[in-house]
Symmetry: C2
């Protein structure tokens, strides 16, 4: 997190039923709009991203409603679990880990289940480091007149999001990735169609009632329940930093970090898990047979102090995921890749030492 | 908030799937137990107190279940709204604002609605600055074999809580009051009976599924979903400070602050809203007819920089609520009461200047 944000959150806390808090809440909500690519109201919730995902499910669909969801990884799978938990009928579009869903798959699923009212997908599936083509899925959803719900947890603030243009009806994100904040704050925006669906919705809800929150935040400049005050102050500061940098530069910076990391992985003889639709926020590198990435991740984190993630579920022990979202520059990828090289060496993998770092440097050179 | 806590939360954030985070999570959860007065596991949730209240409702009761709730103020009323929202049948025990519920009222309600499975009450009703007799309500609940759910949001860390001894089956609190943290972290503990009920529960839930969280936090030393990392680090530090002070001293400090504030209010000719069962964490003073407390609160906050609250709902414009929870000492009540005197004068109320501050000083003198 940027020191400016840490300091902002370390300010003495003010009460949330004050004009002073209202001014910050209004400003933070307004500043979120360009990151979502929307003119709709952005609603803040005191919850992690999963709470915001749940809010989109229980405010747009009612028990018994059918929905199609894209399961291309751990977070896609979560849509299905959530829908089922709340009594909806969830139709899965299964996608191989690391692949993007093809819009035709969505179309086919909607044809097979014409009673479906919504499609749920990730803009960026963090567990597989792949992105899904939301713009094209939006076209399918419009054509078949169903709602489109998108998890933007690792896409908002990383690459350009066009909620309104893509026809997204509920767009969800969380504070802890590219927004450079601790976890604990969720954000949701609804399209006009999304708002209509939410107004008619009859799923039991209280804490995550988006219509109640929208009324409080838009009309009364406060929140329905006690807000995560320090995180909202931090968010407002984070957004100020991002907007001052300008979003095109923020997105270009992420793009260079992603390409540098991918090119380094390839130079080291590793495979990309998502070669065709890699996420700009996180890169997944598959280690060769016999190399345990759990060991590499632990060594990088505990011995070298460089935090990366391993694989989840079926990719456990096989994947190294290098996050490059938020308060990082392409030069930081020199550190990440250098530590990766050390980790690979530690795990017994043989390669041309320095090949990864050289690739990062080459990519940076092309960007300046 | 104490500077130690602010600094703790301003540390660089660490990933939540690490042994380092697990150690802090375990310690914070363990340190919460004496504040709850329990040997049960304390479950942390990334939500405000309302989210934790909702968790207790949807994990213990199923749609169609009957329950009795005490409505003695805004937060008691919230139990009723929540129960109804999730399809439970809520039987209200109405209590005049500022009064404590009498245990016989609970007994009568349970006799009138013998199908009831639980009683919901506040240990301290923040909106009316009154406490309810949880120990005695616990006896009634045991005798009639119903669950007891208690909102401890302004009681935990303020005065002694004996969850196990009182027979509380779900005990709920939040981070932003006596725990000296920003809002955004909820805590719930369940008794063995509460756990049994939760295991059999069939209310649809996902984000606030306490059994899933308990399994993750107790067995895997992590959380089911992304936790509010910075708040958990802050909590661990806050609890360290409170336990170092020792809980008896923490409670005595709150008691002196409460008595000093009440005695000051009386010396100024104001009335206590809750004379018979005043809350140790917040004192409510009723202004004489014709004096608008909204004006006083605004003046104290915006001109004098002393944050107090007005009345809510039916007490709007009639009440000044002075919070004395958390990182405050009895000497701080000199400031609060001095500012109150200035506010009363500003609002046109006539009184013996200095009478309030003198009363605070007298009460402090008796405590040292």
């Amino acid at each position: 997190m940027p020191p400016e944000v840490l300091l902002e959150m370390a300010q003495p806390i003010i009460h949330h039923r004050t004009p002073q808090f209202s001014a910050t809440l209004d400003q933070a909500r307004e500043r979120m709009k360009p990151l979502f690519g929307t003119r709709q109201e952005v609603i803040l919730i005191a919850s992690s991203g999963t709470g915001a995902m749940e809010a989109s499910v229980i405010n747009l669909l009612s028990p018994g409603d059918h929905a199609v969801f894209v399961n291309g990884g751990k977070f896609g799978e979560r849509w299905g679990k959530m829908l089922t938990a709340f009594g909806m009928v969830a139709h899965e579009v299964k996608v191989e880990w690391g692949r993007a869903v093809r819009p035709e798959q969505i179309e086919d699923a909607l044809k097979a289940h014409p009673e479906s009212k919504a499609v749920f997908v990730q803009a960026s599936e963090t567990s597989t480091c792949a992105i899904h083509p939301v713009a094209q899925i939006g076209e399918v959803a419009r054509r078949r007149d169903v709602l489109l719900v998108v998890d933007g947890i690792t896409s908002v603030g990383v690459f350009e999001q066009k909620m309104d243009e893509w026809g997204v009806d509920a767009f969800v994100t969380g504070s802890q990735k590219a927004l450079m904040l601790p976890p604990g704050l969720g954000m949701v925006a609804l399209s006009d169609r999304g708002l209509e669906a939410a107004k008619k919705n009859r799923t039991p809800k209280f804490y995550l009632d988006l219509m109640k929150e929208l009324k409080a935040q838009r009309d009364e400049h406060t929140t329905a329940f006690t807000p995560a005050v320090s995180l909202i102050f931090g968010l407002n500061k984070s957004l100020e930093l991002l907007l001052n940098e300008t979003l095109p530069r923020v997105f270009a910076r992420h793009q260079v970090m992603a390409e540098a990391t991918r090119e380094a992985g390839i130079a080291l003889g590793l495979k990309l898990i998502a070669p065709d639709s890699p996420a700009p926020g996180v890169t997944g590198l598959i280690a060769p047979e016999g190399i345990d990435t759990g060991k590499i991740v632990k060594y990088m984190r505990d011995t070298l102090g460089v935090a990366v993630q391993g694989g989840q579920d079926q990719m456990k022990g096989r994947l190294v995921r290098i996050g490059h979202m938020g308060n990082l520059t392409p030069f930081d990828m020199l550190i990440a890749v250098s530590a990766l090289e050390a980790g690979l060496r530690f795990a017994g993998y043989e390669f041309a030492s320095g090949a990864g770092v050289t690739a990062v440097q080459a990519r940076i050179a092309r960007s300046i």
